[in-house]
Each structure stands twice: as structure tokens, then as C-alpha cells.
């Protein structure tokens, strides 16, 4: 019998405890790879901004390697090194208009099941008042050939699939800007994942 500790909501008062300087910029230490910024809004079922959400991201580095002892790809290939300037975790809160912005590098493709490769993606957790447990989703990239064969994307109908792919939103001075809105509920609801 499992003795798992249940989840409870993050509530509205987490900011002082959980927001740390620099955690919204994963590339700040000079990581290798293409610089990107991810901007978006968190919206509720009425399309109203969710101003008290926390977004976390976790991703592989530009070579497709996670900075974690259980990712032993280098041992097998020797060509997916750890980037000592990149850990791959970020955390940010939404502002009063539901907006968030993270800076990072585009991750490489990582292996999936049965030898298939997964298209480059960023793993996302969403926490907010009104969510009794976190919501998980993924950010995929536009114009990415591997999206066609990705084990998750390829199982989704076109409209739902599109909700997992960030939209190009122009180029900043030093980075490509991508838009990824997170819609908690409704016709444009984000595709959430049971991990």
C-alpha cells in the first residue's frame, strides 16, 4: 500500500519563498546553443489572465543531454556532453497580466521509447491557486523536422498538436523569441500531460 504524500495547491503566497534571482534565465552562464526567449500568458477558462501562477521548465542542453546522473548518453555515444554552463531548470512567476518570460537555449533531441528520437522539447510544470496538483505540458518548436515523428506529437489530432508547438514571435537582439500561451481551460485549452 502506497504511503504517497498527496499534492496540495501552491496557493497565492509562494513568491517570496520560491522565486530566486536569475532562475528565469537559464542561459545566463554562457550555455552553448541557440539563444531563445519564451514568452507567454497563462489564461483561465474565461480568457482572464492568471496573475498568480508559477511556471517551471526542465530541459536537455543543446546537445540533447540532461544534466542528471541517469542520463548516461555520453557513455554510449561520447557526443552528447554535459554543458558545465547549463543545468536546464528555470522558474518564473506570472505578472498581474498573466505574462511570463524565460531565456534559455534550444534543447537537442532526446531519446524516447523503443529507440525512437523525441523532437526537441522543454518540459513544463504549471502551479497556481486553483490547481490542487501541478499541470505538466511540453513546449515543442516550430519548423522542426523531428516533430513529424515525435512519439507524442504524432499521436495527436492537428489542432491539439498545434497547442504544444511554440509560435515564432520575432527575433530579439540576441535571441529568437517564441510565444507559448498556457490556457488552463476552454476551447483553446493547452494539452496537458499525465506524467
Amino acid at each position: 500500500m502506497s504511503r504517497l504524500t498527496p499534492s496540495q495547491t501552491i496557493g497565492p503566497f509562494f513568491h517570496r519563498a520560491l522565486l530566486h534571482e536569475g532562475w528565469n534565465d537559464l542561459a545566463a552562464r554562457g550555455a552553448a546553443g541557440e539563444r531563445i526567449a519564451i514568452e507567454g500568458r497563462v489564461l483561465d477558462g474565461d480568457g482572464a489572465p492568471v496573475g498568480d501562477a508559477m511556471i517551471e521548465i526542465w530541459q536537455a542542453n543543446a546537445a540533447g543531454r540532461y544534466d542528471h546522473p541517469e542520463d548516461r548518453q555520453e557513455d554510449r555515444h561520447g557526443n552528447r556532453p554535459i554543458d558545465s554552463n547549463f543545468h536546464g531548470f528555470g522558474r518564473v512567476a506570472t505578472d498581474s497580466e498573466g505574462r511570463f518570460r524565460l531565456r534559455t537555449v534550444k534543447p537537442g533531441a532526446v531519446p524516447g521509447g523503443g529507440g525512437a528520437m523525441q523532437a526537441p522539447h522543454i518540459n513544463v510544470s504549471v502551479f497556481t491557486r486553483g490547481l490542487l496538483k501541478r499541470l505538466a505540458t511540453r513546449i515543442y518548436f516550430p519548423d522542426e523536422p523531428l516533430n513529424e515523428s515525435d512519439p507524442l506529437l504524432s499521436t495527436l489530432p492537428a489542432k491539439r498538436r498545434a497547442r504544444l508547438i511554440a509560435r515564432a514571435a520575432g527575433a530579439g537582439a540576441a535571441e529568437r523569441v517564441l510565444n507559448f500561451d498556457i490556457v488552463l481551460q476552454g476551447a483553446d485549452e493547452t494539452v496537458f500531460l499525465d506524467v
Binding site: 499534492s7 517570496r16 542528471h68 531519446p111 502551479f127
Partner: protein
């Protein structure tokens, strides 16, 4: 690719709250209508950020004084161990906590409850688990406070906990409650956990051995994160749904 990896066990029915819980008003516009899509665990879910003792500064585990003075209220010690579902200690794990003060007020701009702030209580702490999964912090017992969920709604006394565990799949944010609190029966957030035994595991236990004579009452609160699947899979990912 022949290396084997173990995914994480699926959360048994009733152990976690649903997204949509009618009694908790804030879920009405924030809970998704579509069920989340179950995905097989891959490196993306098995790996996760690792933060531990390097994140914890001197004094971060002692919330009883702040800004040069002693916090007001009933001093307590909260201690426990972090395990996975198989009883293995989760060591070197960052535990972040936050809470209201002894008057039921958070040091937060959005908290408009008409109760006094305590300039000597931040309500924020951090601690890392040791090799045996144990953590310990000293704080002030938080008070209940009103919220607008329904008429005369009050949150029971609670402390928020945030933990990563070893992988993306083990991320947990929860709340710890206190034994004997009459508000627990009335609280839609606590009551959102369907399984009664699981719900009770959110309530800490008074512990005389943890209690410090002439100083602070002691409470024990163990935390259990998801354990590993029994069956390994090959190639850095899983072939089937789990």
C-alpha cells in the same frame, strides 16, 4: 542503446486530488476540461533538477528570528524524513517552505487579511535532507486565516512544502496541517484528497522527543515521493504506456 532505466510508478487512484473539485471555487475556471494525456516515461520525466544543500544558507532553517528580532508566537520544531514509496530515503533534496505568521498573515503584498504583520517573521525557509532523508526546521506555529472561498471560510493552520525529488515526475508541492484542527473537516483543499488515509498523511504528529524543553513543541512530518516502477525499459525511453 541498451541501458535500462526505471520509470516512476503511476499515482494510485484517490491518493492525489482531482483538478476539478467543486467545493474549491478557484478550480472552476482553472481546472482543464480535457483529461491529461498519459505519456510513457522517458529521460525527460526521469531526470530532473538537482538542488540540495548548496541552496541553503546559514539560518535558512530557523524562521524564529528575522531582521534582528524574535518572531512572535508559539515556537515549534518540524522534522521528518523524505522517502520514496519503497521506503528509500531521498537524500540531498531541497525542501522549500512558506507559511503565515502567528496572527494568520503572510508577508506578501497580495495578503489583505486584517491581521498584524510581524517584522521579525519572514515565513520563508529552506532546508536540505541529509543522507537518511531527514530534514528539520524551527518556526512559529502559523494561525488560521479567513479566505473568500465560501461564507465564513477559514484555512486550517498549515505550512506549504515544495520538493523536487530525483526527477521531473516526482515534483511535489503540498501543505502540512496540524493534529486536532477543527477546520480540517471544513477545508475544501484538505478534503480534496479522496482517500481518507492519504489525507491524514498531510497532518503532522506531535512528538515529545522532538520537543525542546523550555523552548518549542516538536512535530513530525514524513513525506513520501513517487517510487520506481518494477519493470525496467530499454533505450532511454519506454515503449508502452505506464
Amino acid at each position: 542503446m541498451t541501458s535500462t532505466l526505471l520509470g516512476y510508478r503511476r499515482i494510485a487512484k484517490g491518493l492525489d486530488p482531482p483538478y476539478d473539485h467543486a467545493a474549491y471555487t478557484s478550480t472552476h475556471k482553472r481546472a482543464p476540461k480535457n483529461p491529461p494525456i498519459r505519456i510513457a516515461h522517458t529521460l525527460s520525466e526521469i531526470t530532473g533538477p538537482r538542488f540540495g544543500a548548496e541552496m541553503v544558507g546559514a539560518g535558512d532553517a530557523d524562521l524564529t528570528h528575522f531582521a534582528g528580532g524574535e518572531a512572535l508566537g508559539e515556537r515549534i520544531v518540524v522534522t521528518g524524513r523524505v522517502f520514496d514509496e519503497d521506503g528509500r530515503p531521498v537524500s540531498g533534496a531541497l525542501v522549500e517552505i512558506w507559511q503565515a505568521n502567528s496572527a494568520g498573515r503572510y508577508a506578501h503584498v497580495a495578503d489583505q487579511h486584517d491581521a498584524p504583520l510581524d517584522p521579525h517573521f519572514s515565513g520563508v525557509g529552506r532546508v536540505a535532507t541529509g543522507a537518511d532523508g531527514a530534514y528539520r526546521f524551527a518556526t512559529i506555529k502559523p494561525a488560521a486565516y479567513p479566505w473568500k472561498n465560501h461564507y465564513n471560510a477559514w484555512r486550517p493552520q498549515h505550512i506549504h512544502f515544495s520538493l523536487f525529488g530525483p526527477g521531473f515526475a516526482t515534483r511535489l508541492i503540498t501543505q502540512m496541517y496540524f493534529p486536532g484542527d477543527p477546520l480540517l473537516q471544513l477545508d475544501p483543499i484538505f478534503q480534496s484528497v479522496p482517500d481518507a488515509a492519504a489525507r491524514e498523511r498531510l497532518v503532522c504528529a506531535f512528538d515529545l522527543e522532538t520537543t525542546i524543553p523550555e523552548r518549542a513543541l516538536g512535530y513530525r512530518f514524513d513525506i513520501v515521493l513517487r517510487g520506481r516502477d518494477a519493470i525496467p525499459f530499454e533505450g532511454g525511453g519506454s515503449g508502452g504506456a505506464r
